[in-house]
């Protein structure tokens, strides 16, 4: 009874690529005007606002929101953009995080650019969805402002929430400043939506330290963003013009090749991450290293490996320690998934003792401390000719700050390990030990 509107060009061998869906989403007249006024300006934005501005620039089609501190402010900013007529998007008040992720998944499966986010226990409430969305290869974006998991209730930042999802097949990386949040959100969409990748992305910022402290953010022109981030085109969208079935049941013997494909998708994302990071630098003038920020590592004997906003304090501590003649450097992970094993080994090639700053909780793991050190240790195990000593530092848990004095203490422990030729223990609890 109902007829399907079929565009020309569907019949050729490359017909699938000819769908009119390739059109760029229109912006509202108010949106065009607003963005034209922003271009070239520096705004003082906190990390949440920066993420919202990135979604505005990305001209997202569907936003799935549910409140939880501290990421909520991202969604508050976006709802205002829509109320003001600046952004044309469907804003969906989900009934929980599981529904948020499901709705974004549904929208992304139809070919709409979808945006969602969460914090803390909200991230874990949606856990079922992570493997499903990445396995379906639907490149939605989730913006996370970290929050400690319960119990007890705690608003403070801890990386455990997002790290819990690290093996679920999402691109996962931390931003350390509002500018980085803005940039990484656009870069992540560009990587994730690339047909060679097609993976969902988590763009993570530390709660409060980044999400609620303002920094300067450069506003690009909308045209430049549109050029950098092409229209979202899912090759296998749920589209009546070209019916497909998503996610049918498999037999166990069909599992291994599919899982291998998912594992390869992570590896295959690595060159695209390099390419899109470089292209971003060319387009906007802000050049990021692909995976690991190397801070005074060239001649370093000891180094701290860190992720996220505490790197800002860590840099200051490293500078002060250098003034005292201690040969220390810092390696900051810009992506945790895919884990940059090669780039990290390269960054730490001359380093003899490495301390991993764990702002997360990995109860009962091999280090009896955090999560990150397990990946770092595995990556460095294959370092040649000589692998460095590795230990972990539990710091900043529950959203506590990590002051310069604590980084000094960590440097001291690394120095002792260097002298001794071995680490004292796999994990140090900073503030609980001498």
């Amino acid at each position: 009874m109902t007829t399907v509107h079929v565009e020309g060009g569907l019949t050729g061998p490359n017909g699938a690529g000819q769908l009119a869906r390739l059109a760029r989403g229109s912006r509202t007249p108010d949106g065009e005007q607003f963005l034209a006024g922003l271009a070239g300006q520096k705004l003082r934005l906190n990390g949440c606002a920066a993420a919202a501005y990135a979604a505005l620039y990305a001209n997202v089609d569907v936003i799935a929101a549910y409140p939880i501190r501290p990421y909520t402010a991202i969604m508050m900013n976006l709802s205002q953009f829509i109320a003001d007529g600046i952004l044309d998007a469907e804003y969906l008040h989900a009934d929980g995080e599981h529904s948020q992720l499901s709705a974004a998944f549904g929208a992304g499966s139809c070919g709409a650019r979808a945006f969602t986010g969460s914090s803390g226990v909200g991230v874990t409430y949606a856990y079922e969805m992570y493997s499903i969305i990445s396995g379906a290869r639907i490149p939605i974006q989730m913006s996370i402002a970290d929050r400690t998991l319960d119990p007890p209730g705690d608003f403070g930042s801890e990386h455990t929430d997002a790290l819990c999802t690290r093996d679920m097949g999402w691109l996962l990386g931390w931003a350390a400043t509002p500018q980085e949040v803005f940039d990484k959100s656009l870069i992540a969409y560009a990587i994730g939506e690339d047909p060679r990748v097609l993976l969902p992305q988590m763009v993570v910022q530390d709660g409060y330290f980044v999400s609620h402290i303002a920094g300067e953010v450069d506003m690009p022109s909308a045209v430049a963003v549109d050029d950098y981030l092409p229209p979202y085109q899912l090759p296998f969208a749920l589209d009546p013009r070209r019916p497909v079935s998503h996610g049918p049941q498999i037999h166990p013997e069909q599992g291994p090749p599919l899982q291998l494909e998912r594992a390869r998708a992570m590896e295959d994302a690595i060159p695209v991450i390099r390419e899109k990071t470089d292209a971003f630098g060319t387009a906007f003038g802000r050049h990021y290293t692909h995976f690991v920020e190397e801070y005074i590592l060239a001649d370093a004997e000891i180094a701290l490996v860190i992720s996220g906003g505490h790197a800002v304090t860590c840099r200051a501590a490293v500078r002060q320690l250098r003034e005292r003649g201690i040969k220390i450097g810092m390696a900051r992970l810009l992506w945790v998934r895919p884990f940059p094993s090669d780039d990290l080994r390269q960054a730490l090639r001359g380093v003899k003792a490495v301390g991993v700053v764990e702002t997360n909780l990995g109860l009962g793991g091999a280090s009896y401390g955090g999560i990150l050190s397990l990946d770092v240790t595995t990556a460095l195990y294959h370092a040649s000719p000589k692998r460095p000593l590795v230990t972990a530092f539990m710091a900043g848990l529950g959203g506590e700050t990590v002051p310069v004095a604590e980084f000094d203490w960590m440097a001291g422990k690394l120095g002792q390990a260097l002298q001794r030729g071995s680490v004292e223990k796999a994990t140090h609890w900073v503030g609980f030990e001498k």
Binding site: M1, T3, G25, D61, D95, G106, I132, L238, I250
Partner: protein
């Protein structure tokens, strides 16, 4: 500028003389199918059981909806039985969703199409967006997500195919499993002779009362034209629609496979599944009054899952059915009122019927 979102308006089928609304018992079976569309977006080649009620419902819903449809299916028996990797019975786009995501995933599809059409990224009409969730998904784990979707009023049709149990996982009780319905989580035994002790959740009424801006209706596979017309009314309604469809499960209920459609009528005639349409203008229910009113035993005796029921359990069931008849504005015949007394069934058990189909239960 924003592009116009053009929506389908599907014509209704002629129900005259084709539904169950004929007043003689023989007439029930005449001419109930009008000329149907040729399209069959739910094609043959799936692995559902013989006599599968949900499969019949899937076929009617998709026939009524047509090819310009996008379909979601949360985990359930109709996920596992229908889709086998590299093979599909759907000629329209279909996606599996997690069991709790029927409402939310479908919300996302609807929101996606609204935005894409408005922003000039999709050139067609707004497609029919449909999800068919089992009763476990719709009334239990995914209830909140469907309620959220109805509340937000996405232009989509949310169908619950109700086979009154978690059939996929081996017949466990769901909130719509009837009182005394035997499942593998509500077996009968010396301590619990009735099996399931709780009356069922009234899912459709909850949806209508809680989301009075939505098109809400109930139907069964016993009335295909009614089912297809309610599908079309739900799709034509601009906004959210919820259709609760009774779909017998041969495997879970233990009945002769040819009796699926018959059960779809008897359940209504026995007063155990009121068929109605919610009138959102006047906030009232338009009940279908079956031409025949039967004692519940006419329905229970066909199914093995009720074979363990004792006279007092049957009486409890009859009381619930009679209450339903009164809710529907129907008189309750004296014979049915008599059935509220357990003694009535003790007598019947001895004198009249022997429930021959029930012997195999639990064996």
């Amino acid at each position: 500028m924003a592009h116009e979102v053009v929506r389908h308006q599907l014509p209704l089928f002629d129900e005259e003389g084709r539904s169950a609304a004929t007043d003689d018992e023989a007439g029930r079976d005449r001419h109930y199918l009008p000329d149907l569309p040729d399209e069959d977006p739910y094609a043959a080649g799936h692995r559902t059981c013989a006599g599968c009620g949900p499969a019949i419902q899937y076929r009617w819903v998709l026939k009524a909806a047509g090819n310009d449809s996008v379909l979601a299916g949360p985990t359930g028996c109709m996920y596992v039985a229908n889709s086998t990797y590299l093979c599909t019975p759907y000629t329209v786009p279909w996606a599996h969703t997690p069991i709790a995501s029927g409402g939310s995933f479908t919300s996302g599809m609807a929101a996606g199409y609204e935005a894409m059409i408005r922003k000039g990224r999709y050139p067609g009409q707004y497609p029919n967006i449909i999800v068919m969730a089992g009763d476990g998904s719709a009334s239990d784990i995914g209830l909140g997500a469907i309620s959220g979707a109805l509340y937000r009023n996405h232009d989509a049709l949310f169908v619950c195919y109700d086979n009154e149990c978690y059939a996929n996982t081996g017949i466990q009780t769901s909130p719509t499993t009837p009182y005394a319905g035997m499942t593998t989580f509500t077996p009968f035994g010396k301590a619990i002779p009735e099996g399931k002790k709780l009356p069922p959740k009234n899912l459709a009424k909850m949806m209508a009362e809680g989301h009075p801006h939505c098109y809400v209706a109930t139907t069964t596979v016993g009335y295909p034209v009614d089912l297809m017309n309610k599908t079309r009314k739900g799709l034509n309604h601009v906004g959210a629609a919820f259709l609760h469809c009774y779909t017998p499960c041969q495997k879970g209920w233990v009945y002769q496979t040819s009796m699926t459609v018959e059960l779809g009528r008897r359940v209504v005639e026995a007063g155990l599944f009121p068929v109605w349409e919610y009138d959102l203008e006047n906030r009232t229910y338009h009940y279908f009054h079956p031409p025949v009113q039967r004692p519940v035993t006419d329905y229970l005796a066909m199914q093995g899952r009720f074979g363990h029921m004792l006279p007092e359990h049957v009486a409890t069931m009859q009381r619930a059915a009679n209450q339903n008849f009164r809710d529907m504005g129907m008189d309750v015949p004296a014979e049915l009122v008599a059935g509220e007394d357990p003694e009535h069934h003790k007598r019947l058990a001895e004198e009249t019927y022997s429930m021959p189909l029930n012997r195999g239960v639990g064996a």
